[in-house]
């Protein structure tokens, strides 16, 4: 038999809640609203008691019902006599009501109004600026110590990171730059073929890959691959108190953790950009030879004619700047990370977003700069 509820008046001011049957969470149980209704209509009730002799079995279902009744009684300043409840339930209710609910836990039950949220968000964004500048300052000082030879870091760490961001990135950089080279060549060729100028595919691809696309695509890949990894590594170290351990031992965590990461990416990015350019140009040649009937030799000749050292330099400089920005964003977010798994996830996401944002801004500025300089 599922739970049954009836209300009786023992005396005019004493409401007795009679419970019977099986009070299990899985059953459909009577609600405490009936009790509330009775209490509302009869304001002279001062005592609430129970009769639970007919309860066959119970679990948290009963306790939840009782908790609501207790709540109602507290609101109406009604004395509750738990005497008639099953022994176990009585003890559980005593446990549940032993510590009154904490009123001032500092948590807002409802979210603040829109204007306040906008204000808070703006303030935190405003504060993010100085934090970033502070980190930039620390990194600059650390590079200063590197130049003077007093920076504390392990060469073996640097080598490991170089291997990770350099050699291990080759497969994905190869794939992406090959495909980008293919796309540039194909799209360009379709247009150029209308004038019978397919041979200029070589110019388009070599210029595009060395000046812009090589650096940009490598930058985006590295932001997703390495920037995220840096943030996750440093963030986890933050959670694990490893960074505090560096600080208490008097090690500068910027020197130890950030410096080798930035250095590795700054050293490896130019090489990766050069490599991406070569792969992209090869992809262009593949399209030109197989689809547009240009001979390998012609394509090679045209590429050499169109290339200048300045194009290569422009790409390499861009790549180096992107590398610096990606490593900066990754390390910044990692060092700012809070002390929870959630925070590590946020730091990683933010590292990639910040990294790509930095790259796009730098790409625009550098393109305009080189354009103005006529390089």
């Amino acid at each position: 038999m599922p739970g049954q509820l009836s209300l009786q008046f023992h005396s005019p001011d004493d409401l007795r809640v009679v419970l019977a049957g099986s009070w299990l969470l899985v059953d459909s149980l009577p609600s405490a609203d009936d009790v509330a209704l009775q209490l509302q209509s009869r304001s002279d009730v001062h005592r609430l008691s129970f009769d639970g002799k007919a309860i066959t079995q119970w679990d948290s279902g009963l306790l939840i019902f009782l908790a609501r009744v207790y709540q109602l009684a507290r609101e109406g300043r009604i004395h509750v006599d738990p005497g008639g409840l099953p022994e176990g339930a009585r003890r559980m209710m005593k446990l549940a009501t032993a510590v009154p609910p904490q009123e001032d836990t500092g948590k807002h039950s409802k979210p603040p109004p829109v204007l306040e949220r906008i204000g808070l968000r703006s303030l935190s964004m405003w504060r993010a600026g100085p934090e970033m500048l502070h980190f930039l300052g620390e990194v600059t000082l650390s590079f200063g110590r590197l130049l003077r030879g007093t920076a504390q870091y392990r060469r073996s760490d640097l080598m490991l990171i170089i291997e990770d961001v350099g050699a291990h990135a080759l497969p994905i950089v190869s794939l992406i730059s090959f495909l980008v080279g293919l796309i540039v060549a194909y799209m360009g060729a379709v247009q150029l073929a209308q004038f019978g100028a397919q041979i200029y595919i070589a110019n388009l691809v070599s210029l595009g890959m060395t000046r812009e696309m090589g650096a940009l695509m490598t930058g985006v890949i590295m932001a997703g691959r390495t920037g995220a990894a840096f943030a996750a590594q440093l963030g986890t170290m933050q959670v694990n108190e490893e960074i505090d351990a560096f600080r208490t031992l008097g090690f500068n965590p910027i020197d130890f953790l950030v410096l080798p990461r930035m250095l590795a990416l700054i050293l490896m990015m130019p090489l990766l950009v050069l490599y991406a350019g070569i792969v992209g140009i090869t992809a262009g040649m593949f399209v030109a030879v197989t689809v547009f009937d240009i001979s390998t030799f012609e394509y090679y000749q045209q590429t050499v004619r169109s290339m200048a050292w300045s194009h290569i330099w422009v790409g390499v400089i861009k790549g180096t700047v992107y590398g610096m920005l990606i490593a900066f964003a990754g390390c910044l977010r990692g060092m700012q990370c809070g002390r929870s798994a959630q925070a590590v996830g946020e730091a990683t996401t933010s590292a990639v977003v910040t990294g790509i944002l930095f790259i796009v801004i730098a790409a625009s500025l550098l393109t305009i700069l080189f354009q103005e300089l006529g390089i």
């Binding site: 490893e242 600080r247 208490t248």
Partner: protein
């Protein structure tokens, strides 16, 4: 246990002095007006209920967080008013065992212990390797030199962290919840080790804990931080406090809630 037996040279100023310390997170006061002195060679316990700011106090003492008000002095030198070179020198005398161990996860146990040695001493690689083996054997981890922190159990990680903390023979050792997550026997071994370090090397030891067994076994002196009033409400020998503290909150805590 000879926690009280050995008399150590004690200078009048105390090894560590906390003066009028107030700690805040943003605008939220965690603890205010803390005042106590830790003599040289003392084992000093910071105790109190969960969330009362014990670990935060420790983070202030080891220079990880700047106080909102007040000072922390080491041999009468105020840490936060010193130059950064002086701060480095003071920090060099610390060893710290973090709550989670905080071993550097990308390094083996041997490298973890060797890193401070390599950085701050002129020892040769061979000498360092010997010191590392000695420190690891002191905490019962001889033979685990080439293991990475993730390859050993939590209790072993804590002991390895202690080996790293004592690598440079520090004058002051800080422990954050040393026995949290340890079984009773490992926990007892750690207590014995702490006592042994104090007795044989005269190290001043500061322990954050709420393990009553540890508190009574090793503590010479203790401060009780209260979460309700957000300040210290008792200081003194924990056994004396247990039996005779005028404050019922402290007595209740030290008697596991029974008065």
């Amino acid at each position: 246990m000879k926690a009280n037996g050995v008399q150590h040279k004690k200078d009048p100023g105390g090894h560590i002095t906390v003066q009028d310390l107030t700690m805040m997170y943003g605008n939220f006061v965690i603890q205010h007006d803390l005042n106590f002195t830790i003599p040289r060679g003392d084992i000093f316990i910071i105790m109190g209920g969960s969330g009362c700011g014990k670990s935060t106090l420790l983070r202030h003492m080891i220079g990880l967080k700047a106080p909102a008000r007040g000072r922390v002095l080491f041999d009468d030198i105020s840490y936060w008013e010193s130059s950064s070179a002086e701060q480095q020198r003071i920090k060099r005398s610390f060893g710290m065992s973090f709550q989670s161990g905080a071993l550097w996860s990308s390094l083996t146990l041997a490298e973890n212990v060797a890193l401070p040695l390599g950085e701050y001493t002129d020892l040769t690689a061979a000498d360092i390797a010997e010191v590392v083996s000695l420190k690891l054997s002191l905490v019962g981890l001889a033979g685990f030199e080439e293991f990475y922190p993730s390859e050993i159990s939590g209790g072993m990680q804590k002991r390895a962290a202690l080996a790293r903390a004592i690598a440079l023979d520090p004058e002051i050792l800080f422990f954050d919840e040393p026995s949290a997550g340890l079984d009773p026997i490992s926990s007892r071994r750690l207590d014995d080790l702490i006592l042994e370090l104090r007795d044989s090397l005269g190290t001043t030891i500061v322990v954050v804990t709420h393990e009553l067994a540890s508190i009574f076994t090793i503590g010479d002196n203790a401060v009780f931080l209260d979460a309700e009033t957000r300040t210290m409400i008792a200081i003194g020998n924990p056994r004396t406090l247990r039996d005779g503290s005028p404050n019922p909150v402290v007595r209740q805590f030290l008697n596991r809630g029974e008065l």
